[in-house]
Amino acid sequence: MPGGGGKIEHDRDACVGHGRCYVLAPDVFDEDERGHGVLKLASVPAELQDQARAAAENCPEDAISFQPDDAT
Protein backbone atom coordinates (compact mmCIF):
# COMPACT_ATOMS: atom_id res chain seq x y z
CA MET A 1 0.00 0.00 0.00
CA PRO A 2 2.05 2.92 -1.26
CA GLY A 3 1.37 5.76 1.18
CA GLY A 4 2.61 9.33 1.15
CA GLY A 5 6.03 10.53 2.23
CA GLY A 6 7.15 11.23 5.73
CA LYS A 7 9.56 12.88 8.10
CA ILE A 8 12.99 11.48 8.75
CA GLU A 9 15.50 12.27 11.50
CA HIS A 10 19.08 11.23 11.94
CA ASP A 11 20.84 11.34 15.31
CA ARG A 12 24.44 12.19 14.43
CA ASP A 13 25.63 11.51 17.96
CA ALA A 14 24.38 7.94 17.87
CA CYS A 15 25.67 7.23 14.35
CA VAL A 16 28.96 5.31 14.22
CA GLY A 17 29.18 4.74 10.49
CA HIS A 18 27.84 1.25 9.79
CA GLY A 19 26.78 2.63 6.45
CA ARG A 20 23.58 0.66 6.15
CA CYS A 21 21.59 3.84 5.51
CA TYR A 22 23.42 5.19 2.46
CA VAL A 23 23.72 1.71 0.99
CA LEU A 24 20.04 0.84 1.41
CA ALA A 25 18.69 4.36 0.91
CA PRO A 26 21.10 6.11 -1.46
CA ASP A 27 18.54 8.76 -2.38
CA VAL A 28 17.86 9.66 1.22
CA PHE A 29 21.35 9.42 2.76
CA ASP A 30 24.82 10.48 1.71
CA GLU A 31 28.10 9.40 3.18
CA ASP A 32 30.38 11.92 4.87
CA GLU A 33 34.21 11.85 5.02
CA ARG A 34 34.19 9.42 7.92
CA GLY A 35 31.65 7.10 6.36
CA HIS A 36 28.86 8.33 8.61
CA GLY A 37 25.39 8.89 7.21
CA VAL A 38 24.16 12.37 6.27
CA LEU A 39 20.57 13.18 5.41
CA LYS A 40 20.03 14.51 1.92
CA LEU A 41 16.53 15.71 2.67
CA ALA A 42 14.38 16.42 5.69
CA SER A 43 11.04 15.42 4.32
CA VAL A 44 10.76 12.23 2.36
CA PRO A 45 8.68 12.19 -0.82
CA ALA A 46 6.31 9.31 -1.38
CA GLU A 47 8.53 7.51 -3.86
CA LEU A 48 11.36 7.32 -1.32
CA GLN A 49 9.28 6.02 1.55
CA ASP A 50 10.57 2.47 1.17
CA GLN A 51 14.17 3.61 1.21
CA ALA A 52 13.61 5.77 4.26
CA ARG A 53 11.93 2.94 6.10
CA ALA A 54 14.70 0.49 5.17
CA ALA A 55 17.33 2.89 6.50
CA ALA A 56 15.49 3.41 9.77
CA GLU A 57 14.85 -0.28 10.31
CA ASN A 58 18.37 -1.43 9.47
CA CYS A 59 20.52 1.06 11.34
CA PRO A 60 22.23 -1.01 14.05
CA GLU A 61 22.55 2.06 16.24
CA ASP A 62 18.85 3.02 16.03
CA ALA A 63 20.06 6.43 14.94
CA ILE A 64 17.33 6.99 12.36
CA SER A 65 13.64 7.58 12.92
CA PHE A 66 11.09 7.73 10.19
CA GLN A 67 7.49 8.85 10.60
CA PRO A 68 5.36 8.26 7.55
CA ASP A 69 2.71 10.89 6.95
CA ASP A 70 -0.77 9.65 7.65
CA ALA A 71 -1.73 7.54 4.72
CA THR A 72 -4.61 9.20 2.96
Binding site: V16, G17, H18, G19, Y22, V23, E31, E33, R34, G35, H36, A54, E57, N58, C59, P60, E61
Partner: protein
Amino acid sequence: MSSHTNNPPEADSDSINFYDPAVAAHPQPVFRRLRDRCPVGKPIPGGAVCLSRYEDVLFALRHPEIFSAVMPAGLIGNVRPLIPLNVDPPEQTKYRKFLDPLFSNKKMLAMEKGVREIASNIVDRFADDDGCEFNTAFAIPYPSTVFLQLMGLPADDLDHFLSLKNAIIRPDAEDPEEQAKIRNESGEKIYAYFNKYLDEIEKSPRDDLLSLFVTAEVGGERMNREEILDICYLFLLGGLDTVTSTLGCMVSYLAQHPDRRQALVDDPALIPSAIEEMLRWETPVIQVVRTVVQDYTIGGVELKKGDPVTLVLGSANTDDEQFPNADEVDFERMPNKHIAFGSGPHRCLGSHLSRLELRVALEEFHRRIPEYTIKPGETPVYSHAIREVTYLPLQFGKGQK
Protein backbone atom coordinates in the same frame (compact mmCIF):
# COMPACT_ATOMS: atom_id res chain seq x y z
CA MET B 1 47.69 -28.69 14.11
CA SER B 2 44.57 -30.75 14.46
CA SER B 3 44.15 -33.71 12.17
CA HIS B 4 42.01 -32.85 9.21
CA THR B 5 40.30 -36.13 8.64
CA ASN B 6 39.03 -36.49 12.19
CA ASN B 7 35.41 -35.67 12.60
CA PRO B 8 34.83 -33.20 15.38
CA PRO B 9 33.97 -34.85 18.70
CA GLU B 10 30.26 -35.23 19.46
CA ALA B 11 28.86 -32.21 21.20
CA ASP B 12 26.89 -32.63 24.41
CA SER B 13 23.37 -31.98 23.14
CA ASP B 14 22.36 -30.24 26.35
CA SER B 15 25.41 -28.05 26.85
CA ILE B 16 25.39 -24.27 27.14
CA ASN B 17 29.15 -24.09 26.81
CA PHE B 18 29.66 -22.31 23.52
CA TYR B 19 33.42 -22.31 24.10
CA ASP B 20 33.42 -26.07 23.47
CA PRO B 21 35.38 -26.68 20.23
CA ALA B 22 32.92 -29.48 19.48
CA VAL B 23 30.14 -26.97 18.83
CA ALA B 24 32.14 -24.58 16.66
CA ALA B 25 30.52 -25.89 13.48
CA HIS B 26 26.97 -25.37 14.79
CA PRO B 27 26.96 -23.05 17.77
CA GLN B 28 23.45 -21.66 17.22
CA PRO B 29 21.51 -24.26 19.27
CA VAL B 30 23.96 -23.76 22.13
CA PHE B 31 23.34 -20.01 22.01
CA ARG B 32 19.61 -20.65 22.17
CA ARG B 33 19.93 -22.78 25.31
CA LEU B 34 22.23 -20.19 26.81
CA ARG B 35 19.72 -17.36 26.22
CA ASP B 36 16.84 -19.48 27.50
CA ARG B 37 18.54 -20.72 30.65
CA CYS B 38 21.00 -18.07 31.72
CA PRO B 39 20.92 -14.98 29.53
CA VAL B 40 23.23 -13.24 32.00
CA GLY B 41 25.45 -15.84 33.59
CA LYS B 42 28.44 -18.10 33.49
CA PRO B 43 28.25 -20.99 31.02
CA ILE B 44 31.43 -22.31 32.60
CA PRO B 45 31.62 -22.16 36.39
CA GLY B 46 34.39 -19.77 37.38
CA GLY B 47 34.48 -18.16 33.92
CA ALA B 48 33.39 -14.72 32.85
CA VAL B 49 29.77 -13.60 32.95
CA CYS B 50 28.29 -13.83 29.46
CA LEU B 51 25.59 -11.60 28.06
CA SER B 52 23.70 -13.44 25.35
CA ARG B 53 20.52 -11.49 24.59
CA TYR B 54 20.59 -9.00 21.72
CA GLU B 55 19.26 -6.22 23.91
CA ASP B 56 21.85 -6.70 26.65
CA VAL B 57 24.78 -7.14 24.28
CA LEU B 58 23.78 -3.99 22.41
CA PHE B 59 23.47 -2.05 25.65
CA ALA B 60 26.93 -3.10 26.79
CA LEU B 61 28.51 -2.27 23.43
CA ARG B 62 26.99 1.18 23.51
CA HIS B 63 27.96 1.97 27.09
CA PRO B 64 31.74 1.99 27.43
CA GLU B 65 31.41 4.05 30.63
CA ILE B 66 30.02 0.87 32.25
CA PHE B 67 31.53 -1.83 30.03
CA SER B 68 35.05 -0.71 29.21
CA ALA B 69 37.11 -2.13 26.36
CA VAL B 70 40.38 -1.20 28.06
CA MET B 71 42.41 -4.40 28.50
CA PRO B 72 45.79 -5.15 29.96
CA ALA B 73 48.49 -5.69 27.34
CA GLY B 74 50.13 -9.03 26.74
CA LEU B 75 47.30 -11.42 26.00
CA ILE B 76 48.25 -11.69 22.35
CA GLY B 77 51.96 -10.97 22.49
CA ASN B 78 51.44 -7.21 22.55
CA VAL B 79 53.46 -5.09 25.00
CA ARG B 80 50.99 -2.20 25.03
CA PRO B 81 47.18 -2.00 24.68
CA LEU B 82 45.92 -2.10 21.09
CA ILE B 83 44.64 1.06 19.43
CA PRO B 84 41.75 1.85 19.09
CA LEU B 85 40.31 -1.40 20.46
CA ASN B 86 41.63 -1.14 24.02
CA VAL B 87 40.99 2.58 24.38
CA ASP B 88 37.65 4.05 25.47
CA PRO B 89 36.03 7.28 24.27
CA PRO B 90 36.77 10.17 24.37
CA GLU B 91 40.44 9.18 23.80
CA GLN B 92 39.38 6.50 21.31
CA THR B 93 37.35 9.01 19.27
CA LYS B 94 40.49 10.91 18.34
CA TYR B 95 41.91 7.82 16.66
CA ARG B 96 38.64 6.96 14.96
CA LYS B 97 38.34 10.46 13.53
CA PHE B 98 41.68 9.86 11.86
CA LEU B 99 41.12 6.24 10.83
CA ASP B 100 37.44 6.30 9.75
CA PRO B 101 38.03 8.39 6.62
CA LEU B 102 40.83 6.03 5.54
CA PHE B 103 38.47 3.03 5.74
CA SER B 104 35.22 4.66 4.67
CA ASN B 105 32.82 2.96 2.33
CA LYS B 106 33.74 5.37 -0.50
CA LYS B 107 37.48 4.82 -0.07
CA MET B 108 37.02 1.06 -0.05
CA LEU B 109 34.78 1.03 -3.12
CA ALA B 110 37.47 2.97 -4.96
CA MET B 111 39.76 -0.05 -4.45
CA GLU B 112 37.29 -2.51 -5.94
CA LYS B 113 39.16 -3.02 -9.20
CA GLY B 114 42.41 -3.92 -7.47
CA VAL B 115 40.66 -6.19 -4.99
CA ARG B 116 38.86 -7.95 -7.83
CA GLU B 117 42.12 -8.53 -9.63
CA ILE B 118 43.61 -10.12 -6.54
CA ALA B 119 40.57 -12.36 -6.08
CA SER B 120 40.52 -13.34 -9.71
CA ASN B 121 44.25 -14.14 -9.77
CA ILE B 122 43.90 -16.43 -6.80
CA VAL B 123 40.87 -18.23 -8.27
CA ASP B 124 42.91 -18.72 -11.47
CA ARG B 125 45.31 -20.94 -9.57
CA PHE B 126 42.72 -23.65 -8.92
CA ALA B 127 39.70 -22.98 -11.14
CA ASP B 128 40.69 -25.77 -13.55
CA ASP B 129 41.18 -28.36 -10.80
CA ASP B 130 38.55 -30.81 -9.54
CA GLY B 131 38.36 -29.06 -6.22
CA CYS B 132 40.37 -27.27 -3.57
CA GLU B 133 40.91 -26.89 0.12
CA PHE B 134 39.27 -23.52 0.27
CA ASN B 135 40.98 -22.17 3.36
CA THR B 136 44.54 -22.61 2.10
CA ALA B 137 43.69 -21.98 -1.53
CA PHE B 138 41.69 -18.79 -1.12
CA ALA B 139 40.43 -17.69 2.28
CA ILE B 140 43.91 -17.29 3.80
CA PRO B 141 45.93 -15.60 1.02
CA TYR B 142 43.15 -13.29 -0.23
CA PRO B 143 42.62 -10.84 2.65
CA SER B 144 46.33 -10.70 3.42
CA THR B 145 47.24 -9.88 -0.16
CA VAL B 146 44.62 -7.12 -0.20
CA PHE B 147 45.92 -5.85 3.09
CA LEU B 148 49.58 -5.71 2.08
CA GLN B 149 48.57 -3.69 -0.96
CA LEU B 150 46.41 -1.34 1.07
CA MET B 151 49.18 -0.70 3.59
CA GLY B 152 51.84 -0.30 0.93
CA LEU B 153 53.84 -3.35 2.02
CA PRO B 154 55.59 -5.66 -0.47
CA ALA B 155 53.48 -8.58 -1.72
CA ASP B 156 56.51 -10.83 -1.24
CA ASP B 157 56.10 -10.43 2.50
CA LEU B 158 52.95 -12.56 2.42
CA ASP B 159 54.37 -15.76 3.92
CA HIS B 160 56.34 -13.96 6.60
CA PHE B 161 53.31 -11.84 7.41
CA LEU B 162 51.05 -14.90 7.69
CA SER B 163 53.47 -16.81 9.89
CA LEU B 164 53.74 -13.87 12.31
CA LYS B 165 50.03 -13.62 12.92
CA ASN B 166 49.48 -17.39 12.94
CA ALA B 167 51.99 -17.81 15.74
CA ILE B 168 49.90 -15.42 17.81
CA ILE B 169 46.47 -16.72 16.94
CA ARG B 170 47.31 -20.42 16.90
CA PRO B 171 50.61 -20.92 18.73
CA ASP B 172 51.97 -24.37 17.98
CA ALA B 173 51.99 -25.67 21.58
CA GLU B 174 49.63 -27.22 24.13
CA ASP B 175 51.11 -25.78 27.31
CA PRO B 176 49.75 -22.28 28.12
CA GLU B 177 53.19 -21.06 29.22
CA GLU B 178 54.75 -22.31 26.04
CA GLN B 179 51.94 -20.64 24.07
CA ALA B 180 52.57 -17.32 25.81
CA LYS B 181 56.27 -17.61 25.02
CA ILE B 182 55.59 -18.20 21.32
CA ARG B 183 53.14 -15.29 21.29
CA ASN B 184 55.60 -12.92 22.93
CA GLU B 185 58.41 -13.88 20.59
CA SER B 186 56.17 -13.44 17.60
CA GLY B 187 54.93 -10.14 19.01
CA GLU B 188 58.50 -8.84 19.08
CA LYS B 189 58.92 -9.84 15.47
CA ILE B 190 55.73 -8.03 14.51
CA TYR B 191 56.92 -4.80 16.10
CA ALA B 192 60.30 -5.26 14.37
CA TYR B 193 58.61 -5.92 11.02
CA PHE B 194 56.60 -2.71 11.10
CA ASN B 195 59.48 -0.74 12.64
CA LYS B 196 61.66 -1.54 9.67
CA TYR B 197 59.18 -0.07 7.17
CA LEU B 198 58.31 2.85 9.41
CA ASP B 199 62.03 3.75 9.60
CA GLU B 200 62.23 3.76 5.82
CA ILE B 201 59.05 5.79 5.47
CA GLU B 202 60.18 8.39 7.97
CA LYS B 203 63.14 9.05 5.71
CA SER B 204 61.07 9.17 2.54
CA PRO B 205 57.28 9.13 2.87
CA ARG B 206 55.35 7.43 0.08
CA ASP B 207 51.81 7.50 -1.14
CA ASP B 208 50.36 4.77 1.07
CA LEU B 209 48.57 4.17 4.32
CA LEU B 210 51.64 3.66 6.50
CA SER B 211 53.11 6.94 5.27
CA LEU B 212 49.89 8.68 6.28
CA PHE B 213 50.23 7.19 9.75
CA VAL B 214 53.66 8.76 10.02
CA THR B 215 52.80 12.19 8.67
CA ALA B 216 49.16 12.82 9.67
CA GLU B 217 48.04 14.78 12.69
CA VAL B 218 45.77 12.97 15.09
CA GLY B 219 44.02 15.13 17.66
CA GLY B 220 46.31 18.02 16.77
CA GLU B 221 49.68 16.27 16.80
CA ARG B 222 51.57 13.56 15.01
CA MET B 223 51.32 10.07 16.42
CA ASN B 224 54.44 8.72 18.06
CA ARG B 225 56.01 5.46 16.94
CA GLU B 226 54.34 3.45 19.69
CA GLU B 227 50.87 4.62 18.76
CA ILE B 228 51.47 3.72 15.12
CA LEU B 229 52.76 0.29 16.07
CA ASP B 230 49.78 -0.34 18.34
CA ILE B 231 47.42 0.36 15.44
CA CYS B 232 49.41 -1.80 13.00
CA TYR B 233 49.50 -4.66 15.49
CA LEU B 234 45.72 -4.59 15.78
CA PHE B 235 45.31 -4.46 11.99
CA LEU B 236 47.47 -7.53 11.58
CA LEU B 237 45.52 -9.47 14.19
CA GLY B 238 42.05 -8.08 13.54
CA GLY B 239 41.93 -7.54 9.81
CA LEU B 240 43.05 -10.86 8.34
CA ASP B 241 41.74 -13.88 10.22
CA THR B 242 38.36 -12.27 10.55
CA VAL B 243 37.89 -12.10 6.79
CA THR B 244 39.41 -15.56 6.31
CA SER B 245 36.99 -16.98 8.86
CA THR B 246 33.97 -15.18 7.47
CA LEU B 247 34.69 -16.33 3.93
CA GLY B 248 35.19 -19.89 5.10
CA CYS B 249 31.92 -19.89 7.05
CA MET B 250 30.06 -18.48 4.05
CA VAL B 251 31.48 -20.80 1.41
CA SER B 252 31.00 -23.77 3.73
CA TYR B 253 27.37 -22.78 4.21
CA LEU B 254 26.84 -22.38 0.47
CA ALA B 255 28.58 -25.67 -0.31
CA GLN B 256 26.10 -27.38 2.00
CA HIS B 257 23.04 -25.52 0.69
CA PRO B 258 22.99 -25.96 -3.10
CA ASP B 259 19.72 -24.09 -3.59
CA ARG B 260 21.11 -21.02 -1.82
CA ARG B 261 24.34 -21.21 -3.77
CA GLN B 262 22.36 -21.46 -6.99
CA ALA B 263 20.25 -18.45 -6.03
CA LEU B 264 23.41 -16.34 -5.74
CA VAL B 265 24.87 -17.69 -8.96
CA ASP B 266 21.63 -16.93 -10.81
CA ASP B 267 21.28 -13.47 -9.32
CA PRO B 268 24.54 -11.96 -8.07
CA ALA B 269 22.59 -8.82 -7.09
CA LEU B 270 21.40 -10.88 -4.14
CA ILE B 271 24.96 -11.26 -2.82
CA PRO B 272 25.08 -8.12 -0.62
CA SER B 273 21.97 -8.99 1.37
CA ALA B 274 23.01 -12.67 1.48
CA ILE B 275 26.32 -11.55 2.99
CA GLU B 276 24.48 -9.61 5.68
CA GLU B 277 22.38 -12.64 6.50
CA MET B 278 25.34 -15.02 6.59
CA LEU B 279 27.22 -12.54 8.77
CA ARG B 280 24.26 -12.67 11.12
CA TRP B 281 23.83 -16.42 11.08
CA GLU B 282 27.48 -17.40 11.19
CA THR B 283 28.80 -14.47 13.28
CA PRO B 284 32.44 -15.53 12.86
CA VAL B 285 33.59 -13.26 15.71
CA ILE B 286 31.46 -15.05 18.28
CA GLN B 287 32.29 -12.84 21.22
CA VAL B 288 34.00 -9.68 22.37
CA VAL B 289 35.18 -8.90 25.89
CA ARG B 290 34.73 -5.99 28.26
CA THR B 291 35.49 -5.11 31.88
CA VAL B 292 32.83 -3.68 34.19
CA VAL B 293 34.08 -0.31 35.48
CA GLN B 294 31.15 0.60 37.72
CA ASP B 295 28.82 -1.69 39.66
CA TYR B 296 25.86 -2.43 37.47
CA THR B 297 22.86 -4.76 37.50
CA ILE B 298 21.75 -6.25 34.22
CA GLY B 299 19.10 -8.95 33.74
CA GLY B 300 18.83 -9.19 37.53
CA VAL B 301 22.51 -10.07 37.87
CA GLU B 302 24.76 -7.77 39.90
CA LEU B 303 28.04 -7.06 38.20
CA LYS B 304 30.89 -5.64 40.24
CA LYS B 305 33.54 -3.19 39.19
CA GLY B 306 36.42 -5.19 37.76
CA ASP B 307 34.36 -8.16 36.58
CA PRO B 308 35.24 -9.42 33.11
CA VAL B 309 32.21 -9.77 30.83
CA THR B 310 31.86 -11.61 27.54
CA LEU B 311 29.39 -10.26 25.00
CA VAL B 312 28.21 -13.14 22.87
CA LEU B 313 27.62 -11.53 19.47
CA GLY B 314 26.75 -14.90 17.94
CA SER B 315 23.92 -15.34 20.39
CA ALA B 316 22.69 -11.76 20.05
CA ASN B 317 22.49 -12.29 16.30
CA THR B 318 20.30 -15.37 16.64
CA ASP B 319 17.95 -13.95 19.26
CA ASP B 320 14.27 -14.31 18.23
CA GLU B 321 13.39 -11.21 20.21
CA GLN B 322 15.27 -9.21 17.61
CA PHE B 323 15.15 -11.46 14.55
CA PRO B 324 11.80 -13.11 13.82
CA ASN B 325 12.41 -16.77 12.88
CA ALA B 326 16.03 -16.28 13.83
CA ASP B 327 16.86 -19.89 12.92
CA GLU B 328 15.79 -19.37 9.36
CA VAL B 329 18.51 -18.21 7.02
CA ASP B 330 16.76 -15.77 4.70
CA PHE B 331 18.97 -14.10 2.11
CA GLU B 332 16.41 -11.33 1.75
CA ARG B 333 15.87 -10.77 5.47
CA MET B 334 14.62 -7.26 6.10
CA PRO B 335 15.24 -5.64 8.47
CA ASN B 336 18.56 -7.11 9.53
CA LYS B 337 20.25 -5.20 12.30
CA HIS B 338 22.91 -7.80 12.98
CA ILE B 339 25.92 -6.80 15.03
CA ALA B 340 28.56 -9.10 13.53
CA PHE B 341 30.77 -5.99 13.27
CA GLY B 342 29.90 -4.88 16.79
CA SER B 343 28.05 -1.71 17.69
CA GLY B 344 28.76 1.57 19.44
CA PRO B 345 32.12 3.34 19.39
CA HIS B 346 34.16 0.24 18.59
CA ARG B 347 32.16 -0.65 15.46
CA CYS B 348 34.58 -2.56 13.26
CA LEU B 349 36.81 -0.13 11.45
CA GLY B 350 37.17 -2.68 8.67
CA SER B 351 33.45 -3.29 8.10
CA HIS B 352 33.39 -1.50 4.74
CA LEU B 353 36.60 -3.18 3.61
CA SER B 354 35.23 -6.55 4.72
CA ARG B 355 31.94 -6.10 2.90
CA LEU B 356 33.84 -5.24 -0.25
CA GLU B 357 36.22 -8.19 0.11
CA LEU B 358 33.39 -10.63 0.81
CA ARG B 359 31.23 -9.48 -2.09
CA VAL B 360 34.05 -9.47 -4.60
CA ALA B 361 35.23 -12.89 -3.40
CA LEU B 362 31.82 -14.50 -3.86
CA GLU B 363 31.31 -12.81 -7.22
CA GLU B 364 34.68 -13.91 -8.58
CA PHE B 365 34.53 -17.40 -7.13
CA HIS B 366 31.02 -18.03 -8.46
CA ARG B 367 31.86 -16.57 -11.84
CA ARG B 368 34.49 -19.27 -12.36
CA ILE B 369 33.14 -22.01 -10.11
CA PRO B 370 29.34 -21.83 -10.02
CA GLU B 371 28.92 -25.38 -8.71
CA TYR B 372 30.66 -26.87 -5.73
CA THR B 373 29.94 -29.13 -2.80
CA ILE B 374 31.78 -30.47 0.20
CA LYS B 375 34.10 -33.22 -1.05
CA PRO B 376 32.21 -36.52 -0.58
CA GLY B 377 33.24 -38.41 2.53
CA GLU B 378 34.86 -35.37 4.13
CA THR B 379 33.73 -32.92 6.79
CA PRO B 380 34.70 -29.27 7.19
CA VAL B 381 36.62 -28.58 10.40
CA TYR B 382 35.78 -25.45 12.39
CA SER B 383 37.93 -23.86 15.04
CA HIS B 384 36.32 -21.93 17.84
CA ALA B 385 36.80 -18.45 19.35
CA ILE B 386 36.95 -17.04 15.85
CA ARG B 387 35.08 -19.53 13.71
CA GLU B 388 37.66 -20.26 11.08
CA VAL B 389 36.88 -23.23 8.84
CA THR B 390 40.43 -24.54 9.09
CA TYR B 391 39.72 -27.37 6.66
CA LEU B 392 37.17 -26.86 3.90
CA PRO B 393 37.51 -29.52 1.19
CA LEU B 394 35.48 -28.56 -1.86
CA GLN B 395 34.67 -30.56 -4.95
CA PHE B 396 33.86 -28.50 -8.02
CA GLY B 397 30.83 -29.62 -9.97
CA LYS B 398 30.20 -30.65 -13.56
CA GLY B 399 33.60 -29.63 -14.86
CA GLN B 400 32.51 -26.10 -15.80
CA LYS B 401 35.22 -23.50 -15.99
